[in-house]
Amino acid sequence: MHMADALVAPAVAGTMYVLSASAAGVSVNQVKKEDDPKKIPVMGVMGAFVFATQMLNFTIPGTGSSGHLCGGMMLSAVLGPFAGFLTMIGVLLVQCLLFADGGLLALGCNIWNMAFYGCFVGALLIWKPIMKKGATKAKIALASILGCVLTLQLGAFSVTIETLLSGVTELPFSVFLASMQPIHLAIGFVEGLITTAVLIFVYEARPELLWGIGGTNEGRVTDKEGKLSLKNTVIAIAVAAAICGGIVSLFASAFPDGLEWSMEQVAGTTELEAEGGAYDAAAGIQETTSLLPDYAFKNSESAAGTSFSGIVGSLVVVGVMVGASYAFKFFKKKDGSASAA
């Protein structure tokens, strides 16, 4: 789920940064309003906990693939959506700096895909309404599994959209979507089960640690009162997830290309053209800066030669830089030893 810098164009990254920063701004204000300084160390330790659990990959049966926890639901179930969102930003920033998991440029996208959906959609639209009249084990299971599956589906969908809008892949929308959604359905389900196990343990040991639990008696309600049995809930969710997965996959593969289809419906063509001074100027700049404008090098011997020499030339410059860097290092050391003497 972590997007690398190579997968996003600066315009897409910038837009996602603005959106994520807006959500972060709201969260900072809310955390300030809550004014609970004791929450800060818990945010730190929960962040480290999610960080650690994200490093453990679990195998997705029958796919030959693996996945890891996202952690948004778990964070917001303990810290609430706002503190959870800020903690998740911290986790993603440390991950991208220390482990190169996700990029600095793609951080805005990753915050949106992994933190926004998990913390806001998961906590406010799923966890809170389900826990409104108190918690039971079945309700925790329902909220955790439903929340993890749904928020991961939204996250995976956003990854597809962001990558395609960045124009780095030739994969058609439907193919990309068909490969992203089902695998994240499975990952979401496993994450939901793990989140359920952890939260039920916390609920039994220290229910006061859970966020957004309504009702009386510290939010505790017996399973009979809650009208949901844990076993039935898990079975129902598993069946629903399998059906949804099948339907999503069918849709994804049945229609040729959703993005092009939409463009054709709106504009009557899949190739949009723009006219005007700004576009002409931009095209001019692009023509000047691009080494292969309009694929004009096809079958052109001289152009091919130019491009080839361009690549060789670039490699030469890099080679010169290697030499210059060693020279710089040599003189720096010499200078350092002279000043020490």
Binding site: H2, A4, A6, A9, V28, I40, P41, G44, V45, M46, G47, A48, F49, F51, A52, L86, T87, I89, G90, V91, L93, V94, L97, F99, A100, G103, L104, L105, V168, T169, E170, L171, I194, T196, A197, V198, F201, A205, R206, L209, Q286, T288, T289, S290, L291, L292, K298, A303, S307, F308, I311, V312, G313, S314, V318, V322, S325, F328, K329, K332
Partner: protein
């Protein structure tokens, strides 16, 4: 490089990644030129290339998945080199891999030459909210503690179930939940200790003097990136 001001290094890193990501998918030769920064950083900073490459493992699967189909889907022949047709898909795949490679190396240069405290200091200088910066510092600090806690729990489990391979799935919830609760308790104890030692909601990070070289370093690199990106280097 370690003595340079962290804000300058952070700006150079971010500007470099933005510049690299902004290249057109066929602009391979310009992109190769962008190697000047990682080359400089790794040689002058005396960093391990092996360690930098090892970091690629996490982002590689998604980048490879996204790029690997380009040669099959974009078959538009751009040129013939030694009689071999070079398609747009081949060029865009290599460009994508290079972008991923460069951005990982740039982030590695930043973190290898700058401590997390200094990065947090730089984040405060660009007005990242205090609560965010404190949480980042705490995550970094607690990570080691939580690792030790997990190790203790795993050792205890192994001693309790000596002939068992791995941890039984039925124990996962209890073990991970226990791990979380113990870590929260520990975090609260640490927080109380911090209060007793005068913690008032913010870290006191000593201000650093800005030396001329710390000003020249980011300006020079940003100019170099702009020159490469704009295509002004047209010597070939």
């Amino acid at each position: 490089m370690n003595r340079l001001h962290p804000l300058g290094k952070l700006l150079v890193c971010v500007f470099y990644i933005v510049t690299v990501a902004s290249f057109h998918k066929y602009a391979l030769s310009q992109l190769i030129l962008m190697a000047v920064y990682p080359v400089f950083g790794f040689i002058v900073g005396e960093l391990s290339l092996k360690e930098g490459l090892y970091r690629m493992r996490l982002i590689l699967p998604l980048v490879v998945f996204v790029g690997i189909f380009n040669p099959f889907l974009d078959r538009n022949v751009l040129q013939y080199s030694f009689g071999i047709p070079i398609t747009g898909g081949m060029v865009s795949m290599v460009t994508l891999m290079l972008k991923g490679f460069y951005s990982v190396l740039a982030a590695y240069i930043l973190i290898a030459t700058t401590s997390i405290d200094e990065i947090c200091y730089a984040l405060r200088l660009i007005h990242v909210p205090r609560v965010m910066v404190i949480v980042i510092m705490l995550i970094y600090r607690y990570f080691g503690l939580m690792g030790n806690e997990a190790n203790r729990i795993a050792t205890a489990y192994k001693l309790r179930a000596p002939s068992q391979n791995g941890i039984h799935y039925k124990a996962w919830g209890t073990l991970v939940g226990q791990w979380l609760l113990r870590s929260i308790d520990r975090a609260e104890m640490v927080y109380e200790s911090m209060l007793l030692r005068g913690f008032k909601g913010d870290y006191v990070i000593p201000r650093r003097k800005v030396k001329p070289v710390s000003m020249i370093y980011p300006i020079a690199w940003i100019l170099i990136f702009i020159v490469i990106r704009s295509g002004l280097i047209n010597i070939f």
